[in-house]
Symmetry: C2
Subunit: 380 residues, 2 copies
DNA sequence: TTAATAATGATGGAATCCTGAATAATCATG
DNA sequence: CATGATTATTCAGGATTCCATCATTATTAA
């Protein structure tokens, strides 16, 4: 949302005012003209003018009147979140999750397809197709209604939406994810690393909503990180920001070993459950795992000095067993220990981030000076 | 310079246009109205109106006519960089350097006062006073003309301009730098860590001018880092960003030991000179030093994936002996190795960064909507 | 039915921008 | 030294947009 403020002629001023009206309407509920005028700082008359424009162009719609108040009932206007649809897809090792939402990011349908790390790329892509088709069908939406699609995948992603390198899924390296998905939906397809998108989701709808600088740790079968800096997702020059796990000293690769080394007792398959039940060896293994993770986390924290560290990923359900040790380790290593919290987005975080990526694309078009022509301009 | 674009009434539009005119004039040479109109995108008539306003309020001045062209000679207008002065001060271990510049950042006078790491805080503050007084006197400027002052110091600086912790100068911990300097100059005093300001200087006038994401390494008797992210100085939530040296594994503290362990031969006191002259032990010591530095640098680079790493500080004069090893080490450790370059700002980098800090403050006031009242408003 | 309340609609004034034509200043040339 | 070419400046007219104000309209409460 940071633009160079550049002035211009009167037409541009109207555009700017139309944008502020749109932003005020966006996400919130329907507003009357008087309310809109108050919030935007414009006069009532001008607000009316702007809204008439937006109404004609299809960006806003009239909501029902609210009855039961004294005085003449006011017309109420709302953002036409139903004018288009966006799609967010998480391609993971164990599941493919597709979320279909309206332009407010309100999820209309979610479709989950189970996959397996051992699957080949064709099988996995077929699962992606099924998830997308299911999400569209479930919401009763055709591909033409989809304005933008965000896709999350493991591994490094290049500028064209191709997977440059995936350590967790070797078969996946080199797959042209954007190309494949583009053939299934209309509109632009944006592909990004899953840890980064999970971080984005936290700063959108998660526990990091009010923080400007955030380190997000994806703790699960793989370990990864995503960075929010100054409220924005930080990608890095080569899209490789946050890949601290590659540093051998950091030991994110060997961290998992501690967990794998634990042998389940009879009837218990989950190390975290075992630890809660008092299994000493499980507790110790988890502690060693967290200590390894914490080295890399310290490097991220010392580099950025964030306000908040969020732990997400599969293991965040067992935050009670992780956060204490993590806090202690960070405290030991860092100059200023940030707040440490667990994600509350369950296993939908990554897909929500993908959704947000698609929404960002729509918003950018909304804010592009000279645009705001009409919603249908997306389909051109 | 990044503001939310918010629209408003016609008066606000004029303000925005006045700002774009100011930005166009800023830093560049004098321009005619026709040139200004072309660059700002405004019509000639409106540009004239805006410039008349700015002229009346004292922000711009008429420059001399340029003769020798065909046609009626055009009036030319320039930013009144001479309307005020700013001061940048670097308080280091071995010197205090004060730069006095105009509002374009053109340095008018620089004053250097030698100090010693063993000095007490009173002695050092006295040296600061002398440097400031010398810079003012040298440029023939009174304290009242100084609109803003930036100060660089070693150690962690808190929000009020007090040194929270200085490892290099233990006596310096707790000194209220902003308070002291405020009593010597008029206008606001901004204090910041020296590594951070050196980074700022590189992205302003150094080799990092065209990079958005930069890691700056201060390599000298102390080691430090400063980060430029998305074109802006990154401070962190507690102003402790870049303090990766605190991580014991990183070894920035022991790095110096390698250099100190080298014993000078007869007639040679400088390890870098010795290395150039073929002293094997000196070469090896430097290599070990750089390898230690590189561990922390790798952590910074892996975290941020910057476009560029800049090496500054006292040792950057000997970049020929450092950069090769540093590149090789980064290459070994990082996923994508950024470009590595040496600073070209000699030992004025930190002071220039302090100057930029002061100028940023002036610019912010210039860009604050509702301001742009008159230059003299700074003195109120 | 009337009073109170609050939204809508219409009018006029002011600020700002743009376009285009008339005027002014300088250089080159006969 | 006058004239034309060239470019700047100045001025006038028209258009857009915003704001303030007032009359009108729709609804609830008494």
């Amino acid at each position: 949302m940071t633009e160079e403020l550049s002035g211009g002629d009167l037409h541009r001023l109207r555009q700017l005012n139309a944008l502020t009206v749109m932003r005020t309407l966006r996400g919130g509920s329907a507003l009357t003209l008087t309310e809109l005028a108050q919030r935007t700082g414009l006069s009532r008359a001008s607000t009316e003018d702007v809204v008439r424009d937006l109404l004609e162009r299809g960006w806003v719609a009239e909501a029902e009147l609210k009855v039961g108040t004294v005085g003449r009932p006011a017309r109420r206007y709302r953002f036409r979140a139903d004018a288009g649809r966006v799609l967010g897809v998480d391609i993971g090792g164990h599941k493919v999750l597709a979320l279909l939402s309206d332009l407010d990011g309100e999820v209309l349908h979610s479709e989950r397809v189970g996959v397996d790390p051992s699957m080949g790329r064709m099988e996995r892509l077929a699962a992606v197709d099924r998830a997308i088709a299911g999400a569209l069908a479930g919401a009763g939406v055709s591909t033409a209604d989809v304005w933008a699609t965000g896709v999350a995948t493991t591994g490094l992603v290049d500028g064209t939406g191709r997977v440059m390198l995936s350590e967790a899924l070797p078969e996946w390296t080199g797959v042209d994810v954007a190309g494949h998905v583009s053939r299934r939906v209309s509109g632009p397809v944006l592909v990004e690393n899953d840890s980064k998108l999970a971080a984005l989701a936290e700063s959108w709808r998660g526990v990091a909503r009010y923080a400007k600088d955030v380190v997000f740790l994806l703790a699960g079968l793989r370990t990864g990180a995503g960075l929010i800096i100054d409220g924005k997702l930080h990608r890095g020059f080569g899209n490789a920001a946050g890949e601290i796990g590659a540093l051998p000293q950091v030991g994110w690769i060997r961290a998992q070993e501690h967990l794998k080394a634990w042998t389940p007792g009879p009837g218990v398959t989950n190390i975290f459950q075992a630890a809660r039940d008092g299994d000493r060896k499980a507790v110790a293994a988890i502690r060693r795992y967290v200590k390894d993770i914490a080295v890399g986390a310290s490097a991220l924290v010392l580099t950025l000095d964030p306000e908040l560290v969020v732990v997400g990923g599969g293991f965040s359900r067992s935050a009670d067993l992780i956060l204490g040790t993590l806090r202690a380790e960070l405290d030991r290593r860092c100059i200023r220990t940030p707040e440490v919290r667990a994600s509350a987005l369950a296993d939908e975080g990554v897909a929500l981030g993908a959704l947000r990526l698609a929404l960002d694309h729509v918003d950018a078009a909304l804010n592009r000076p000279g645009e705001l022509a009409a919603p249908s301009s997306f389909l051109a």
